[in-house]
């Protein structure tokens, strides 16, 4: 069953409090190579059957209206992944 993957990230200009907490925790575990972390969301939309252009357009629309809030987040990727 094919899936459409949607990746959503906090906008670059918005401080990501969760990412900030994670970057603070990493060095405590010895992971010292990372100077910043930003945390986003990945959605996997399963499609029964073929992913047509129309279905992909629906996914893009859903990504902009429900899956992300354009005030604080960007949809950075919408792609089809074959199972």
């Amino acid at each position: 069953m094919p899936r459409i993957v949607v990746d959503v990230m906090p906008k670059p200009e918005i401080l990501d409090p969760q990412g900030k907490a994670i970057v603070g925790a990493l060095p405590r575990l010895g992971f010292t190579a990372f100077s910043a972390v930003r945390q986003g969301k990945r959605f996997e939309l399963t499609v029964d059957g073929e992913v047509t252009e129309e279905i992909l357009a629906q996914a893009r629309n859903a990504a902009e209206t429900l899956l992300s809030n354009p005030v604080i987040e960007d949809v950075v990727n919408v792609e089809v992944v074959e199972a």
Binding site: L15, P17, Q18, L66, L67, N69, V71
Partner: protein, 256 residues
């Protein structure tokens, strides 16, 4: 729902005068979503102010004949996806959005999660993200009333400081600089945190209004400060009641 047993009833009457306590005939809807917590307190606040509370369910397809709507706090849909994001698409929300934007300008108050729902609905600009310190915060909070000309703040003095409870995790109000400048210029910053900003919100904003002033949203909880002895220990403990008497006076005034 009109004959609630009222905790501290006598005290509330003494503090606010029996004229406010009598039922006016105004009906104020209180919306319950799956995961809403503060609907019962909002109902009490409405009744204490002298209006008839009307329970509304998120799946309702009509608002009935309510004169105003309160969207209370809680964790609708468990805050899944984003706080307020799924509730925004509830059948009743489209009715509320239409009524708020109609010529009748239905007064709508969003408290905490209700504020988050109003921003997700685009009735109010901006959004809320996690508190800058990442912790859930519960405290009595001093607010300054910056605008007393909205449907929900007419009973306060401009610049008046009130103390009401605050309790949230995603309370950091943000918007781009252009939006913030416009909000300031148009007097749409209705409440600001005083003394200490509990979540890192831009420009200490605690609550805002739409351009017409009928839609107001804020993170702190006026409905938890309406009965003496049960609200914050600082101040009268009932400094949130003014939200509900304000809208009531507006409704009664408009119908005269």
């Amino acid at each position: 729902m009109t004959e609630l047993p009222l905790i501290g009833e006598a005290v509330a009457v003494a503090a606010h005068g029996s004229d406010i306590r009598q039922l006016t005939g105004a009906k104020i809807g209180v919306v319950t979503f799956p995961g809403t917590l503060d609907d019962r307190d909002a109902v009490r606040a409405v009744r204490l102010a002298g209006a008839t509370p009307v329970a509304l369910w998120h799946a309702d397809t009509t608002l009935g004949d309510v004169d105003a709507v309160v969207i209370p706090g809680g964790f609708s849909y468990g805050d899944y996806l984003r706080a307020g994001a799924i509730s925004r698409f509830a059948p009743l929300m489209s009715k509320i959005i239409d009524a708020a934007n109609s010529d009748a300008r239905l007064p709508v108050l969003g408290i905490c999660n209700g504020f988050q729902i109003l921003t997700e609905s685009h009735l109010l600009p901006g959004s809320m993200i996690k508190n800058d310190h990442l912790k859930f915060m519960c405290r009595d909070q001093v607010l300054r009333v910056e605008n007393n000309t909205t449907a929900w703040t007419g009973d306060y003095a401009a610049g008046q400081e009130i103390t009401v409870p605050l309790k949230n995790q995603d309370g950091q109000y943000i918007a781009d600089e252009k939006t913030l400048d416009a909000l300031e210029a148009e007097g749409r910053v209705v409440f600001r945190y005083v003394g200490w900003n509990p979540n890192g919100s831009r420009r200490d904003i605690a609550g805002i209004a739409n351009a017409a002033g009928n839609v107001v949203g804020l993170m702190p909880h006026p409905e938890h400060a309406v009965e003496a002895g049960f609200g914050p220990e600082d101040g009268s403990g009932t400094e949130g009641l003014g939200f509900f008497t304000s809208v009531l006076n507006k409704i009664v005034g408009d119908n005269k």
